[in-house]
Symmetry: D3
Subunit: 190 residues, 6 copies
């Protein structure tokens, strides 16, 4: 169940590709699309869609997004839109990235459809995701139940009993909330 | 400008294609996907997304949708989702159909991603749109300014002046609101 | 299909009933509920929910609401909330009224739950709906195909052909858009 | 009541003014604001807010918006944002224009707040509204009840009775739906 | 105030009951309802409504939902819908469960209203809630201020001062964020 | 980057000012505004807008709001609306307070516009914000890297290695999540 998973820094990158006729690509680059710059509007639409993903996709978990970036690349006959989403949570951010990439492409489509009635979204796919259980295999090679032992060992036998509730809580925190402790920037700080 | 266009019955059909591994396709057909039937959930998600299109795509016009249908086709290694959207309005329904098809595919993706981490949305594209100006060329071969003439001719010279505001209004109605009079089912009724 | 139905003035009235302990009813009447007057907040919540019904209920048609009223009645141990919704359209407003009544009751529940942990919504039901086909049976006892006859008869044989497109349009308008002509206030005006 | 008002072309223009330090104004003009061009993002935000006005302002009527434009003017120490909203309806568009102008200013504020912690929205106000009852005083100097007389007079006594339902409907349409017949572009067409 | 309450695992179960005529119940079971399976659509609608509760109920706190389940039970003349909502937070999930149950019932109503015009939602009520202060009385019988004592006692007098900020922080965490440490599954792990 | 900032208790207070004619102010105070008490409706609208800020302002971060209060002050010719928003997070709550104040003023405007067509929102501005980095300068005068030293020093050389992952995690938590430990009410408790 989701609420027993580790809270870790998660990131996901998704990409959408839209075919556009070379003549219209030139108009984008010349800045002469009537409704404005479709790539800038797509950036805004993608960011807003990422934030609203769990409201659009029925069984998608609401997640605390911390970072969203929509980038684009223009080729002679196509536009590639890339969405990067990050957050610290128990589940991944791939649906947020996929939805942002898809909505960014739909927005470009909407702004260009009066100029080009032959566009097609050729692909919406996940490029990368990071931060789930599999990425922390090594970090947890010291089994979690071992981590608290030293802490408890330090205390006298007498105080051990009273320490137990404390250890119990820290233990739980470790498993539930602290995995981002393993991020590189924290390691350096020690 | 949009508000000078004819109000006609418009329809649009868009399609999205999602690659899914044969093993997962079998699970869908066997009804053993853990979160439920992804195609039925996608149908609901697509309908809701169509209704919310102008809230998701920044410069998309809000339109009074009258009809939405999401259908699917399952092949050995892919799922095709088709969205049909209809309504009587001055602008087309293609963004509603495109958004519904895209969101339906994202919903299937979301429900299967724990079983298959290699899916890709291969295409989101418009299959058909009907009801815009070009579809009514013949209907308007009698130029609209001619249509009211007989009506005015019927009246005496004296009453013509007082008829003018009425004619003016009907005239405007004709151009602005009545084009769906040209739908086949109405023609039969006469 | 919805888009072939008549556009008429539609109205619907729905009611919800919430049981509340007499002690808390007294606090509402004394104006000492900590978060403010739950009935006024419920009124606002009900109006907003009516406007958002098609966004909450998956297959509910978006309708152009013209009028919403949320009223309440306080008894010794219960609160009754009544939602009236009106609009001119091809489909009824009952889901809007039902949703408004339900959300109004949930809002009162939310504001009182710290004072009373034994409330229950006892009923959400439709009290009345008006304006659909069945309400216009008499109005259309002159079959609609007859209505235009006199108009066409007035014209000469020669002009009849050119009148046809006009008649066709008015005919369609009559069937599709004008049924609210039969509202009492219009009849008086003639 | 709203549903008895005339459907006319309505437009509203609202304006918001945001004070910004000259140093930050220069950064906007130099294109060096870290999050992108705040005026382009404000344009998108304003358009989206206009479409969602009835969902944000509790008792605001949902209206079929046909046209939204967000413009800006940059002075040495302030930014003025102007929102124009148009549509054909029974009620005005001023809340849509006011909300769009306010949200556009809030969006600029949000994007600049890391650079300038002393901004203030100095004004949000309506500049102009057109299309309501008062704008059509002259057009209706011929009282609406007179308009249909000639039409009825044309028919023989015998056909008058059968014409009545038709006249009744057209009459109602005239009062309820057709006032935009008085728009200049339609007048010319006759 | 909410932000001083403990973050604990909370769950709530609510139930709604809808009367439906036996003939229509049979159609649901036979799978012949025109718009599809109302119970599956209600499941999707309930899940989406739970996630949007704080957007529908004015003073309802936004909460990080981790788990939602909508179940149904069909009797001869009624349908019972049960919503279970869970999350780790400082406030309960009862409004989310109540809203999900109510919206699921409204959705079934909407899909069946063309077949049965005599349905009524008979009840929306909370069946169970867990995880608030009252459920943790025993867990906190060791007063929280005592918990940190052993930790501080371990340190030398000299280091005690420097430990204080650390203890202060852990102390706060204990009271504010860690109560779910007391969940059974964590206790076992020690 | 946002996700490296401290999670602290943040609060923001914003204010909007709306000019209203003295005659209409009197009607508000006499309770004779046709649509109800505009100040109570504005309170509800402001609270709902605060919760939806990141959905309205494109690049505004979604934040876990814990507390919202909308207050008003009526003078002879103006209404002042004050929004206070609080929450424990890595970023401030100023956009939530600004948006709530602006929407509250727009709501009053909407409810009074039929009585007064000369209102203007004179100001929307931030009065106060608390809880960011600058407010904790003193708290962190003991550099964070020093805080964990004593803890590690207590352990024997042998156990130090095994303690490291634990210390690493607590260290990260300290920097990332615990700054609200420095709130006055916690300090007293020790």
């Amino acid at each position: 169940m989701t609420y027993l998973k580790n809270r870790t820094m998660r990131s996901a990158v998704a990409e959408s590709v839209l075919t556009v006729s070379p003549a219209v690509i030139e108009r984008i680059q010349a800045g002469t699309v009537p409704k404005g710059d479709p790539l800038e509007v797509a950036r805004v639409a993608g960011v807003m869609a990422a934030k609203r993903t769990s409201d659009i996709i029925p069984f998608c978990h609401p997640v605390p997004i911390e970072y969203i970036k929509i980038e684009h690349n223009i080729a002679a006959d196509r536009i590639t839109l890339t969405a990067t989403v990050k957050g610290i949570y128990r589940t991944g951010m791939e649906m947020e990235a996929m939805t942002a990439a898809a909505v960014a492409a739909l927005t470009v489509y909407d702004m260009l459809k009066m100029l080009d009635d032959d566009m097609e979204i050729l692909s919406v796919r996940l490029l990368k995701k990071q931060g789930g259980k599999s990425d922390f295999k090594d970090a947890f090679s010291v089994p979690p139940t071992r981590l608290l032992k030293p802490c408890v060992r330090l205390s006298s036998a007498k105080s051990r009993a009273s320490l137990k509730p404390f250890a119990l809580m820290v233990r739980s925190e470790l498993r539930m909330q602290c995995s981002h402790a393993l991020l590189p920037d924290c390691a350096e700080a020690l």
